[in-house]
Amino acid sequence: MRLKLVPTVTNFDFFSRSKVWLGISGVFMVIALISFLLQGLNFGIDFRGGTTIRTESTTEINVGTYRDALAPLELGDIIISEVFDPSFDADQHVAMIRIQAQDGEEAVTAKMTKDAFAALSSVDPAINFVSVESVGPKVSGELIQTAIIAVILAISAVLFYIWLRFEWQFAVGAVLALVHDVLLTIGIFSELQIKFDLAIIAALLTIVGYSLNDTVVVFDRVRENLRKYKSKPLKDVLNLSINETLSRTMMTSVTTLLALIALLVLGGDVIRGFVFAMTWGVIVGTYSSIFVASAILMALGVKRDWSKPNNEAGTQVPQV
């Protein structure tokens, strides 16, 4: 027989405790915000300038020796961390070295890389630099700006589209759910101090897209049911819509998560942060489209007069 993630017909009451859910979400958002304000994000060089060197060696890595070897170069703040990944060979030892932006230098000088290589080779002759990336303070400042603009632009474009296709209450619900997702993602990155770079911004926008996808599917059903059951209380209509789409919500989340988890485990450490952000985003996004977006819609109330002629089928994009 068929694999069923949820029973064929469900009748969960998602709204009897809608205030509690909103409250929990609110608390998490506040925690995320506080963590962000207190700890800040662990920005990668994309956003704060500096140099990262990825080293590979066949011998065991000793972070302390590396640090001592680099100390005479006086490069300022240096962070060295060893990287572990199931996809590495047994004698593949990888470390990441992050060096702060040097005063007065836009990008790394060839000399610095050469010196660092010479210093590390003296303690570990088998060492090899597999990648060296360097971003100057000028560019990193601009990258932050562009990233923030991109996220804001994405959210406003969405707000506008949903407002066109639905009603403004839907748009507000959807966008608050997005803000919720973005904030919680930033929160977990700040709490766990995972490296936050340009790719994470891409992940954030994908989360925005995914969460929205989910929210829109629920809203689409709400709109349909609002027309079908003209006298049913809003709460019941919302509940019915979420229950009706629950099977689909779960199916899509599970297939997406299956793919993401495969990538998380097997995709290598270079994109792990990126994939982690997306995995987290899918979970949070699924939750928010049910418990945040709809709860806000419920709180805002919605206009029940759907007699406008061009909205009958619900399959056309309105003329704009």
């Binding site: 068929r2 694999l3 069923k4 993630l5 017909v9 590979e56 996809s87 836009e106 990008a107 090899n128 597999v130 060296v132 990336e133 360097s134 000028k138 560019v139 603009i149 991109a150 632009l153 994405a154 474009a157 969405v158 589209y161 949903i162 296709r165 340009l198 790719a199 911004i201 891409a202 926008l205 994908t206 925005v208 897209g209 996808n213 829109v216 599917v217 809203f219 689409d220 349909e224 099977s247 689909r248 199916m251 899509t252 297939t255 997406t256 299956l258 793919a259 993401l260 495969a262 990538l263 097997l266 995709g267 290598g268 270079v270 994109i271 990126f274 997306m278 619900g314 399959t315 994009v317």
Partner: protein, 553 residues
């Protein structure tokens, strides 16, 4: 009833077939790549047997477009350089001073004595001792300016001349600055392109970014530092008469002279006449070679004007020192032994073979119009790229299989239809990527994996609808029809919104992020196409054959 017009069926199959054929070369990446390289080489005349043999690796009538691999997958160097256009403005102002002096001098009676003042580098400040003559002075200096045609067609002059107290201040006008920036950037792009082509790496990307930046990506090069040595050097070569030689950098140079350090001998400074006899612009060729002592050197040849100037000068100054200056440093200052009439010569210094080769490349390609400052540089080793591809492939396969199994378990026969569509979908993504010549990056692979997960969404929406209709006791055909009809609104809304974020990512992002946006965006297009058309077509074909009384989804 369930019915799809024949022409629609044909169109769907043709699109699918076309997409898959376009994707096909990627399945044989190495072979097709060798084939393409060989084809290119033969086109420019290298029809060696080896290359001809390689053309047999692939059938010529099949498409041979490949998905470009980004630097993070192939390895290579990435540089973002800012062209120091302000230097060019400054040079222009410095060069203007003699002209200003020459027009004001005959008018001493009205303007008084004239003196150059220190100002910011992008302006020229001249003090006159008779402020009453200011109007006349301004008029004269303005006479030096020339009209600029700007894009809007509005005419303006290249110089802004104004008075500040008893000083005349000259700037480049806004229009001229824009025109200069444009010209400088175009020259810099051209020179960089020539230099990289000289070194002969494959498929470099050299693009202008923003107003004054240039993005350079060269796959396969060992390190960004290497690349920087080639493109970062200005390579302004001049030949200047030597006035004196000493160890004091602060020695007074005298009017029209300058003091420059020696490149190889530390602590040695030459006093030179600023105006060069010949410059690198008059070179027609430069080749690495060896001098009579078998040390690496660079042979060069001048064009006729350069040759004449060089010949005349060497004839008249036998026995004196002559400095060869590169980017403000004296490479060498040999004694002129004899008249050199042929216009060719040799530069010797303490070069290594590599340095002499690089210098020859730089001299051949010409000097950069302005210095470069590097804002961003990334080197990715080819091993890391190969590891990433390997990990990405495994993840793709595992993700794909997991989703396929899950879909069959959930939807049975309909799940198989969705799976066929999913496989076609991945094929179409690669086909489209090859077609538009997009670049696949590591986040791009993540985009494909994400698409695998999300592509089934449209199918899931439809299948769940069909289930609902079946529960509502509709007939099988009617259920399928209604399922598609009702799901379309949700599918549209959901995908339009995701597509919008992909577009924004593409517009705002750069490099790897852009690669992700491309695969995500294309993935949305193909997944909607496969879910709405391909799966439906499969369902209809099956339904026509089987005519089931009851369906189970």
């Amino acid at each position: 009833m369930l019915f799809i017009d024949l022409w629609k069926k044909v169109v769907i199959w043709v699109v699918v077939a076309l997409g898959l054929v376009l994707a096909l070369p990627n399945a044989f990446y190495d072979r097709v790549e060798q084939f393409n390289d060989a084809e290119k080489a033969i086109e420019v005349g290298f029809d060696t047997p080896e290359n001809l043999k390689k053309t047999e690796l692939w059938t010529p009538f099949l498409p041979s477009g490949l998905v470009n691999l980004g630097l993070d997958l192939r390895g290579g160097a990435h540089l973002l350089a800012e062209v120091q256009v302000a230097d060019v403005y400054a040079q222009r102002m410095t060069a203007l001073w003699p002209d200003v002096r020459d027009v004001l001098r005959p008018e001493r009676a009205t303007v008084g004595t004239i003196r150059l003042q220190k100002g910011t580098p992008d302006e020229l400040r001249v003090k006159i001792s008779e402020p009453v003559g200011m109007d006349r002075a301004l008029q004269l200096v303005r006479g030096l300016s020339q009209p600029v045609t700007s894009l809007g067609g509005a005419m303006s002059n290249d110089l802004d001349v104004r008075a500040e107290g008893d000083e005349i201040v000259v700037n480049l006008s806004v229009a001229e600055q824009a025109a200069t920036t444009e010209r400088t950037l175009r020259q810099a792009l051209e020179i960089i392109r020539r230099r990289i082509d000289e070194v002969g790496t494959r498929e470099p990307t050299i693009q202008r970014q923003g107003v004054d930046r240039i993005l350079i990506q060269v796959p396969g090069i060992g390190s960004a530092a290497e690349l920087k040595e080639i493109i970062g050097t200005t390579a302004q070569l001049t030949f200047q008469p030597v006035v004196g030689r000493g160890s004091n950098p602060e020695v007074p140079a005298g009017a029209g002279n300058e003091v420059l350090p020696s490149l190889n001998d530390e602590g040695v400074y030459y006093t030179l006449v600023s105006a060069p006899v010949v410059t690198g612009e008059e070179l027609v060729d430069a080749q690495p070679s060896f001098d009579q002592n078998n040390r690496p050197a660079v042979n060069f040849r001048f064009n006729p004007t350069g040759a004449r100037a060089f010949g005349d000068y060497t004839r008249d100054n036998i026995g004196s020192l002559f400095a060869i200056v590169l980017d403000g440093e004296v490479i060498s200052a040999p004694v002129i032994q004899s008249h050199i009439p042929g216009g060719s010569g040799i530069i010797t210094g303490s070069f290594t073979v590599e340095e002499s080769t690089n210098l020859a490349v730089l001299l051949r390609a010409g000097a950069l119009p302005a210095g470069l400052e590097f804002l961003e540089e990334r080197t990715i080793g080819p091993e890391l790229g190969a590891d990433s591809i390997k990990a990405g492939q495994i993840a793709c396969i595992v993700a794909g299989i997991a989703v396929l199994i899950f879909m069959v378990l959930s939807y049975g026969l309909f799940g198989i239809f969705a799976n066929v569509a999913l496989i076609i979908n991945v094929g179409l993504i690669f086909g489209l990527l090859s077609l538009v010549g997009a670049t696949l990056t590591l986040p791009g692979i993540a985009g494909i994996v994400l698409t695998i997960g999300m592509a089934v969404d449209a199918n899931v929406l439809v299948f769940e609808r069909i289930r609902e209709e079946i529960r509502a006791e509709k007939g099988p055909a009617r259920s399928i029809e209604l399922g598609y009809e009702k799901a379309i609104s949700a599918i549209t809304d959901a995908n339009v919104t995701t597509f919008m974020t992909a577009v924004i990512l593409f517009a705002m992002g750069s490099g790897p992020v852009r690669g992700f946006a491309i695969t995500l965006g294309l993935g949305i297009l193909t997944s909607v196409f496969t879910a709405i058309f391909v799966t439906r077509l499969l369902v209809v074909i099956w339904f026509d054959r089987a005519r089931p009384k009851k369906i189970e989804v």
